[in-house]
Each structure stands twice: as structure tokens, then as C-alpha cells.
């Protein structure tokens, strides 16, 4: 392998690593203690999609990876946040979360849109397209 090839390979590895690190985990965990700052304040700059979930909720386990995959694809067009309702009852009560999974999009510190339940990926994408703009 020539020196030039080695440099090229090294560069490719660096780029792939960088992409992997930044896109491997596109979500952040939020709770009662940081909801205001991480969701409400942040949503004044970029839409924040909050996935209200619980460990034992089976449909939550279906939609969470879908949301994460889409968040990766959208690359920063929105921020994905996950909130465990069991550990954050105040926020869950404040937003009247009566069933999960519940997904809400926050813009400018307010709820702009939302859906409840495990919806198919194509409907989730349509919902995002409709509400991100």
C-alpha cells in the first residue's frame, strides 16, 4: 500500500468514526430536573421530539428504535429526547400523559404536535414532515 493509500484509508476511518460517534446515539435522556432546560429552552432553537416511555411498555420498545433511526437520518433537524414516565411524574402529569408511548414535538417552548401509541414508520415519517416545517 502506498503512502497516499495509507493516508486515504486513515482519513476514511476518521470520517467514519466521527459519523458513527455523532450518529450512533441520537437521543438524550431527559427528566423532571432538566426538562425545562433540555426541552423547553432548546426547542426555541430546534424542534425537540420527546418520547414519553416506560421500560415495561411493549409498544414503546417498538417505536423507540424507529424514532432513533429517523433522528439519525434527519441529522440534527430535530432533537430526540426520551423521558421515562415512572421517573419523571411531574412532567408526565404536566403534559397529561395518560398512555404511552406518547410522542410530543416541542417548538418555541410549547407542544406543537403529538401522537399516542405505536404507529407505523411511514406514518411517523409523515407526521414529522408535516410538523417540522
Amino acid at each position: 500500500m502506498s503512502e497516499l493509500d495509507e493516508i486515504r484509508q486513515k482519513k476514511i476511518r476518521e470520517i467514519l468514526n466521527k459519523r458513527f460517534i455523532t450518529s450512533a446515539d441520537p437521543k438524550m435522556e431527559v427528566s423532571d430536573s432538566n426538562f425545562r432546560e433540555e426541552v423547553l429552552e432548546r426547542s426555541k432553537k430546534v424542534p425537540v421530539v420527546v418520547d414519553f416511555h416506560a421500560d415495561w411498555c411493549m409498544p414503546c420498545r417498538i417505536i423507540s428504535p424507529m424514532l432513533e433511526k429517523i433522528a439519525r437520518e434527519y441529522g440534527g433537524k430535530f432533537t430526540l429526547a426520551k423521558l421515562d414516565i415512572q421517573h419523571s411524574p411531574l412532567t408526565s402529569n404536566a403534559y397529561n400523559i395518560s398512555s404511552i408511548p406518547a410522542v410530543k414535538m416541542f417548538k418555541n417552548g410549547r407542544v406543537a404536535a403529538g401522537f399516542v401509541g405505536a404507529i407505523p414508520e411511514n406514518r411517523m415519517r409523515a407526521w414529522l414532515e408535516e410538523n417540522l416545517n
Partner: protein, 80 residues
């Protein structure tokens, strides 16, 4: 689980063929029964008002309509 299966069959639907989903739901239903005295739906929050919360005891008040409309109940235990 047999109880849920029998209920589903008697009412014209069936248990979700995804075994993990059924097992997860049944496990939580039994935990809810042990902790709160009733088999509350795993995907709905209790209000603390026992009369209101009767609606979310599995099989909940909404499951038939949900199965008819979307093919599965909210927690995906029962499917069409």
C-alpha cells in the same frame, strides 16, 4: 397467559403472535395486580381514582374499538 388467550379466542381476536410482546405485557399486568390490586393496562397511567381506573383494567374499555380501528389494542396484547 392462557387466560388472555382464551379471552381473545372467545371474542374473535387473538394474542399477538410476537411472544415477547405478550410475555412483557402479561408480566406487567401481574405486577400491577400485585402492586395495585388490579391488572391495569401496562401502557396506561392510573389516575388514583379507582372508579375512573376501572376503564383501564385489562381487557380495557377501549380494546375492542382499537382492535377494530387499527388491528391491535393499544398495548398490542390483542390483535385482529
Amino acid at each position: 397467559m392462557e387466560e388472555c388467550k382464551r379471552y381473545a379466542e372467545e371474542n374473535g381476536f387473538r394474542l399477538n403472535p410476537e411472544k415477547k410482546i405478550v410475555e412483557g405485557n402479561v408480566k406487567r399486568l401481574l405486577e400491577n395486580e400485585k402492586r395495585e390490586g388490579e391488572r391495569y393496562c401496562p401502557c396506561r397511567r392510573t389516575t388514583g381514582d379507582r372508579e375512573k381506573d376501572k376503564k383501564i383494567i385489562c381487557p380495557c374499555a377501549y380494546h375492542r374499538e382499537e382492535i377494530r380501528r387499527q388491528g391491535y389494542c393499544h398495548c398490542m396484547l390483542f390483535v385482529k
